[in-house]
Subunit: 368 residues, 2 copies
């Protein structure tokens, strides 16, 4: 076999698809493909509104990743015959109180220096663009190029595209072993020329891998809600809305079906997947503060994922110290956005031995 | 056949068990037995803390119903070999602010006139009795005789007891017809000497029944949350806690397993079963105001039921204007508490033709 990929989230599956289509024989090992952090996510394709001060090295990667999304989504839809879930409605950012306004405006110079063009709106203007917003706002900022994808729809289409490209699946957990080219699954061993570890937060449990690289990944738990709006009886947003509400971030991502995703908590070093009462409460409190119609929507799901997060916010994609083992993990809060670029970059790297720019900034070896 | 019962909630199943054990041949018709309002409920056996001003005719019925519960639960556990779910830990009532305190104290004279012995506690005393309570309390009232049952466990045991007593089940919807003794199911017709309508809120859809009786029943939707506490890492209550928080009622019912039930919204004339964001938000807001450890519990379920409620708060149990048709519905917010007494009373009534006291106050004919 040419390639075994441990982990069937978005990074593993995009890598699998690209490698299989370039002629490699590929097996993905995962007990439940598509159902990890990729499934929990809200699916924002949002390099501007994901910008945090200090992310000057991450942002060019996010911009490049966002650029490949529309064509990539169209290809997956074509191949799979399933909807890609990609929508190109834009994003508005709002502040709730004056401190939230000050904090949002503080980011504008750095965003502009990176080439973004955020547009500052009055509260009246932002409510004209997104009438589902309530009156308790202090500022609005338009980010029309920040889009979104129904990540669960996309993952279903991507999985189908992998199957059609000849990717095999083993529904088990897997460990890289100390023996080159050997992966130990629950019921079998797999041998492959290349092993890609795309296991998200579970990468830290791969004892045969370099300890400093594993130690660079920590879980940041995120809880997220899914609601269902009935357009006949209540207002729902047409745009993705991100908000700062008394210093806490919340986002509201609408789907064409009426599903609305509200996220997400940021809980450092929480190694568990349970939704808590506090997470549900805080998300609803902050979302309804800026959008009163939240109250009327049906409450359908509370879910949680663990973002595999690094100190420097860059992912971990590329070579290990072993020639047979490679990484595609550590995507933190940007796993969906970075997914297609990760797969395209990994396939090129596996073909040529050279990681293309800008993903070359994400080398795992920087932690050694 | 002797008896067809439309509805497999607690009223239908207790009636079925008693009738079958007295020698009648019994069939229960319900698409999903035990999964209506009885399943949504929290399971409080609480005649004192369920008292509302004006309920002077209802309260004696609740007291009588609470008295039969311990022995009834023990019998069902014996027969079924399953846990009854009944627990005899008591209840404390707390107020959050001074207005809540005044409102709770306002009920004491009427409660004492009915023979109850509520014990007023200082906030320190109530926190000694229930250490999971937080500091933001204005008053406490002890109601040690108000108990609870894990209603889903009890329903499972009751269902098994019915099966063992020879009750047959048809998993379909059913309509009483204009033809005496004939019930129309989806795939078949059933004929029986007696027909008992124990269909909860769905009773209003029985077009062949008396319009004034159907019109006396309205849905009062209740949303309810289930959480899971981990006793190793967070405080959880040992007692049932009922609270008035800024004028709104909330209760917190612990189970021995660590499950904690938080309820319930009171939404008039809502003919739907969806949990809403507002319901989830308000229950969590009010529960965490009096018990901070709520925040730490895992959020496992949001559910809703429709309480079949009458104007006078008494249930609808007994004779119709047709000698073949009888009612056992309209139990409002007290369906679990009234369940065993309803079944025992109905069986006596079907045997003798006379409804025993105090259930005789619940005659359906009062609406004609």
């Amino acid at each position: 076999m040419d390639l075994v990929i441990i982990g069937g989230g978005i990074a593993g599956l995009t890598t699998a698809r690209e490698a299989a289509r370039s002629g490699m024989s590929v097996t993905v090992v995962d007990p439940t493909p598509t159902h990890g952090a990729s499934y929990a996510a809200a699916g924002m394709i949002a390099p501007l509104t994901e910008y945090h001060i200090g992310d000057e090295r991450l942002t060019p990667l996010l911009v490049a990743a966002a650029h490949v999304w529309p064509a990539y989504a169209a290809r997956i839809a074509d191949e799979s015959g399933l909807p890609s879930g990609y929508v190109d409605h834009g994003t508005v950012v709002v502040g709730h109180d004056v401190d939230d306004k000050a904090e949002l405006l503080r980011h504008l110079p750095a965003q502009r220096a990176l080439g973004f063009t955020p547009e500052v709106l009055t509260t009246r203007e932002v409510r004209e663009r997104e009438p589902a917003l309530g009156p308790n706002l202090s500022v609005g900022i338009a980010a029309p190029a920040d889009h979104a994808v129904h990540n669960r729809e996309f993952l279903a289409a991507l999985l189908r595209a992998c199957e059609l490209a000849g990717v095999e699946f083993v529904y088990e957990t897997a460990q890289v072993t100390a023996i080159p080219h050997l992966v130990q699954c629950e019921s079998q061993q797999l041998r492959a020329e290349h092993i890609v570890v795309a296991a998200g937060i579970d990468t830290v449990r791969q004892a045969a891998l370099e300890a400093p690289i594993r130690a660079a990944i920590r879980p940041v738990k995120g809880q997220i809600l899914r609601l269902q709006a009935d357009r006949r009886t209540s207002a729902m947003p047409e745009l993705t809305v991100r908000a700062l509400v008394r210093g806490k971030s919340v986002y509201i991502v609408p789907r064409p079906s009426g599903e609305v995703v509200i996220g997400a908590t940021v809980e450092e070093r929480q190694f568990d997947l349970g939704a808590t009462a506090a997470g549900v409460f805080e998300l609803l409190r902050d979302a309804r503060a800026i959008m009163p119609s939240v109250d009327e929507w049906a409450f359908t799901e509370s879910w949680a994922g663990m973002r595999p997060t690094t100190h420097d916010h860059l992912p971990i994609v590329g070579a290990s110290t072993r020639s047979d083992v490679h990484y595609a993990t550590g995507h933190g809060r940007n796993g969906i956005l970075l997914g297609p670029l990760t797969g395209l970059s990994m396939a090129e790297y596996l073909r040529s031995g050279v990681m293309p720019s800008p993903m070359s900034n994400a080398s795992p070896l920087r932690f050694l």
